[in-house]
């Protein structure tokens, strides 16, 4: 089973990297790009565990390790084989 974890900055936290990427894209001739927010993406392989067990474990890992809850939020997706 594979898990996908997305970690993004909270909407209230300034993202200077995303803003710079947006400006660069606009400068490359894409004026329709209104804004960009940059985040992190983790692909995690899990063995010997079903989805019902894996989800709470992944939520805990995402909260304790993969994200910093002060500035970031996360989303966990599970892909069945």
């Amino acid at each position: 089973m594979k898990a996908l974890v997305y970690v993004t900055l909270k909407k209230t936290v300034l993202d200077p990297q995303g803003a710079t990427i947006a400006r660069a894209l606009q400068g490359m001739g894409h004026p329709e790009i209104a804004s960009v927010r940059q985040g992190k993406f983790f692909e995690i392989e899990i063995e010997g565990m079903d989805a019902a067990q894996a989800r709470p474990m992944l939520e805990r890992i995402a909260e304790d390790v993969l994200s910093n809850p002060v500035i970031e939020e996360f989303r966990v997706e599970l892909l069945q084989d």
Binding site: L9, T12, V13, L14, P16, Q17, T20, V65, L66, N68, V70, I71
Partner: protein, 224 residues
């Protein structure tokens, strides 16, 4: 007074901190390796600057799980002194000993230069040797030093007189110009500027020496 300087893989200001506390300020100072679960009787633990564990994941995110941090947390909970400088400050916010977080500088650049600071409180073991409101010059060297926290936390820090240092010319976008903060017990200080790099006039400023003098004075009073 005994200082313990933690060495993580990727620390690069550990020797500067050891030099400042030991050679310049004249205290006993030794290194603490990241995988020992003890602070070896240190009165003050320094978490030095650098790029612990390569800053992988987030600055300080991996360091907070190292064995020595269990010992540092116990030390702090027992009222022991902890000084986190730069990456050390990032580790202290990651492990929850200090509130808030440090994110990418507003201008995206890594900034390495002397900055002007104001000592905002002298009511702490780290700042008691400064004059109230004293202005001083201490260098910064960071890419992720923009201090953020929610409004309630910021109000609380100010109401409890826990902002230790403020930037006079905010270099990185830190909310309310915050350069260093204390925990509620006032025995843990995190700051982005490097006091250990400003301890001798030859280095351009001795403005950081006050931190080491303060610690010595406080320690002498505690043990009297």
């Amino acid at each position: 007074m005994k200082f313990g300087v933690v060495v993580f893989p990727g620390s690069n200001c550990d020797h500067d901190a050891w030099h400042a506390a030991g050679r310049v300020a004249g205290h006993q100072a030794e290194f603490l390796w990241h995988n020992e679960d003890t602070v070896r009787g240190a009165d003050c633990v320094i978490l030095p600057g650098g790029f612990s564990y390569g800053d992988y994941l987030r600055c300080g995110a991996i360091a907070k799980f190292s064995p020595v941090m269990n010992a540092v947390k116990r030390h702090a909970q027992e009222g022991g002194l902890v000084l986190g400088i730069c990456n050390g400050f990032q580790i202290l916010t990651e492990c929850g000993l200090l509130p808030g977080a440090l994110i990418r500088n507003r201008g995206l650049n890594f900034i390495c230069k002397p900055v002007r600071l104001r000592v905002e409180t002298v009511n702490s073991p780290f700042t008691c040797a400064y004059e109230p409101g004293q202005e001083t010059v201490i260098p910064i060297a960071h890419g992720e030093g923009c201090y953020v926290a929610d409004e309630r936390t910021l109000d609380e820090l100010e109401a409890e007189d826990r902002v230790a240092f403020r930037y006079l010319d905010n270099p990185n976008g830190s909310l309310r110009d915050i350069a260093g903060i204390l925990n509620p017990g006032r025995n843990v200080l995190g700051m982005m500027p490097h006091p250990e790099r400003a301890v001798e006039p030859l280095l351009g400023s001795a403005g950081g020496l006050g931190v080491f003098h303060s610690l010595a004075r406080c320690f002498a009073e505690r043990t009297r």
